[in-house]
């Protein structure tokens, strides 16, 4: 769905940096696409692909990030260690739970909201959309501050309401049973509006002719929704799901760092926070890199499966 394949390279002779010729014009033309792309490719190689290779390399070494201390080759020891760590198991499980929760909040809920409210049009619709999108733009430092204040045991709005309803709350961020839920609430609050807008945009792109034709054929509202609208929405839904699976760990990272630091215990940590802790708290570059390499491979696999699935599942209204 998203890997755009360029058309087969046609006619133009292979351009290479081989020797200067007297015939300058065709030469320059053959080189020009490479020159335009060069800055981007150099930056990508220096800051993404070279570091990726370095990460794989570091994962076979024992090193504490201190430049004067030599790296020590330790084969696959770091992999063995990282796989046996209970922190890793907890972080993996939490990452899975976060993904499930965010699939609900940024795909399923928005679908329900968008379907139920699609008849609201015009200025009212624009106004609602403008309002529900605002949390998505709030900088993570501010959103974590806002929610720490809303959840504050002394004077916070949510505990005050809970107490008034007869269900007193403690400090949600310090309780292993609720710290993860608190992170999900904060990140979910930021993502919900984005999901609603993407689904609404997808809905807006579906021609009403299909539904009109189906209703002439005797289809009722529910049949139209399930058999026509949702299949035609599938590109938007697949897009949102892929974003959620691949990126929710990154959306969660700043909130975890600012609000719970992965705790208490490791109750709210996720895999990226673990990479940070291994690398920049415990100064174990090898361990962090081994975990990073494993996650990269795992996520790459998930993404490829998803791309394959989306090619098969998506309906296009061409």
């Amino acid at each position: 769905m998203f890997i755009e394949t360029a058309g087969p390279a046609t006619g133009i002779a292979p351009a290479g940096p081989a020797g200067l010729s007297a015939n300058r014009r065709p030469k320059r033309r053959a080189l020009s696409p490479y020159l335009y792309i060069l800055p981007a490719v150099v930056l990508l190689l220096v800051w993404t692909y070279w570091p990726l290779g370095q990460t794989v390399n570091l994962s076979f070494n024992d090193w504490n990030l201190i430049p004067t201390k030599p790296k020590q080759y330790v084969d696959v020891q770091k992999y063995a260690k990282v796989l046996s760590l209970p922190e890793l198991h907890q972080a993996l499980m939490n990452t899975g739970l976060y993904i499930l929760a965010f699939l609900g909040i940024s795909v399923a809920l928005p679908l329900v909201f968008a379907l139920l409210s699609r008849k609201v049009q015009g200025k009212a619709r624009t106004a609602y959309q403008a309002l529900i999108f605002v949390p998505f733009l709030i900088t993570p430092v501010a959103s974590s501050a806002i929610w720490r204040w809303l959840f504050a045991p002394e004077g916070g709005t949510i505990p005050a309401i809970a107490a008034a309803l007869g269900a007193p709350m403690g400090n949600v961020f310090r309780d292993p049973d609720s710290s993860m839920i608190a992170v999900i609430v904060i990140v979910g609050w930021q993502m919900l509006g984005f999901g609603v807008l993407v689904v609404s945009a997808g809905l807006a792109g579906i021609s009403p002719d299909y539904a009109a034709a189906a209703s002439i054929d005797g289809a009722n509202g529910r049949q139209i929704t399930w058999r026509i609208i949702i299949p035609l929405l599938s590109p938007s839904l697949v897009f949102l799901s892929l974003m959620t699976i691949l990126l929710s760990a990154q959306w969660t990272y700043p909130i975890i760092d600012l609000v719970t630091q992965g705790g208490p215990g490791n109750s709210s940590t996720n895999i990226y926070y673990l990479l940070y802790q291994f690398g920049f708290r415990n100064f174990d570059a090898g361990l962090s890199s081994a975990a990073g390499t494993l996650f990269f491979l795992g996520f790459g696999l998930i993404a490829l499966v998803f791309v394959e699935l989306s090619e098969r599942l998506s309906f296009y209204d061409n």
């Binding site: 930056l43 570091p51 900088t139 984005f194 700043p254």
Partner: protein
């Protein structure tokens, strides 16, 4: 960062019409105007549940932000007040923040950082997407896969080597160190390429026949015609750069020159001084709020059409 362009939001009066036909008014209609009014009222009644739902959603979205401002503008004696109304306004918390941390400097630095990143990412992406969209050449597919593939490399996986590289360049605790690894956004390249693929080839050919070089064609024909797309993308890149947290917090550990890092330190130091914390947080969002207020449609469309990393 993502790369799937989805259908644009509904233009006024476009396809997103109600799916069922016009509401039927039962009974014989006497006069046309009366029937029209009845139809309108019935249509409105049917929309009530939708409006209730959307209002609830809007309140959930907006209340925390409203609460940030209300608390920020409370006099410190009322900091713990749970009165939902603003009450007496006081600039006290803002004065305290301005006195305690160099927040004006942080805002200026962060603004410069985000602007530099947005401009550089746009420039690099304009060049690269033009190269991809205009010519067929050997290795095009492989080179493009480099950009798509980089989307699969989470930043956290490469952060240690990047950190070491920045440190070797002597750029730790500098804004340059924050900016330099992000000068190229693969996402921007992919977005712009989609726009450029749709660019009319006739215009390019005409420009070439006029004797323009590919470089002059780019700046005199392509870029002026792409202005709306470039503006939307630029705004989006600026907002993403402004909200960046992980990398600045690693590179600027000993400095609070950027707002995200500076506010983080302030949150830690002020503990439960909620009024001051909310004032600082509102200042950290200020430029984004201003952009959103003035360019709301642009911002929403840009993000919804693309998503982001």
């Amino acid at each position: 960062m993502a790369f799937i362009t989805i259908a644009p939001p509904a233009q006024p009066g476009s396809a997103d019409a109600p799916l069922s036909g016009p509401t039927k008014v039962s009974g014989p209609t006497t006069t046309a105007p009366a029937a029209g009014r009845g139809r309108m009222r019935l249509g409105f009644l049917r929309l009530v549940p939708s409006h209730v739902l959307l209002i609830a959603l809007a309140v959930v979205s907006i209340f925390p932000i409203y609460w940030m401002f209300v608390t920020a503008f409370r006099p410190s004696s009322d900091a713990l007040s749970t009165n939902p109304l603003p009450g007496p306004l006081s600039p006290e918390n803002f004065q305290y923040v301005l006195k305690t941390i160099p927040i004006a400097g942080m805002l200026a630095n962060t603004f410069g950082m985000a602007l530099t990143l947005a401009v550089s990412q746009l420039l690099v992406a304009i060049l690269a997407s033009y190269g991809f969209a205009r010519w067929d050449f050997v290795g095009k597919k492989a080179l493009y896969l480099l950009f798509v593939g980089s989307w699969l490399v989470p930043f956290q996986v490469t952060m240690i080597p990047n950190y070491l590289l920045v440190s070797q360049m002597g750029l730790l605790n500098t804004i340059t160190g924050v900016v330099i690894p992000q000068l190229c956004s693969a996402f921007a390249v992919m977005m712009l390429r989609q726009h450029l693929e749709a660019f009319p080839k006739d215009l390019l050919d005409a420009s070439q026949m006029d004797g323009r070089s590919s470089w002059r064609t780019l700046w005199e024909v392509v870029v002026p015609n792409l202005r709306p797309a470039l503006a939307a993308l630029g705004i989006m890149l600026f907002i993403s750069a402004w909200n960046e947290y992980l990398w600045p917090s690693l590179i600027m550990q000993k400095s609070d020159a950027l707002i995200q890092v500076g506010i983080r330190g302030f949150l830690g130091a002020e503990g439960n001084n909620w009024g001051a914390i909310m004032a600082a947080s509102s200042l950290a969002c200020l430029p984004i709020f201003l952009i959103y207020i003035f360019l709301q449609r642009y911002v929403v469309d840009a993000f919804v059409r693309s998503g982001l990393k």
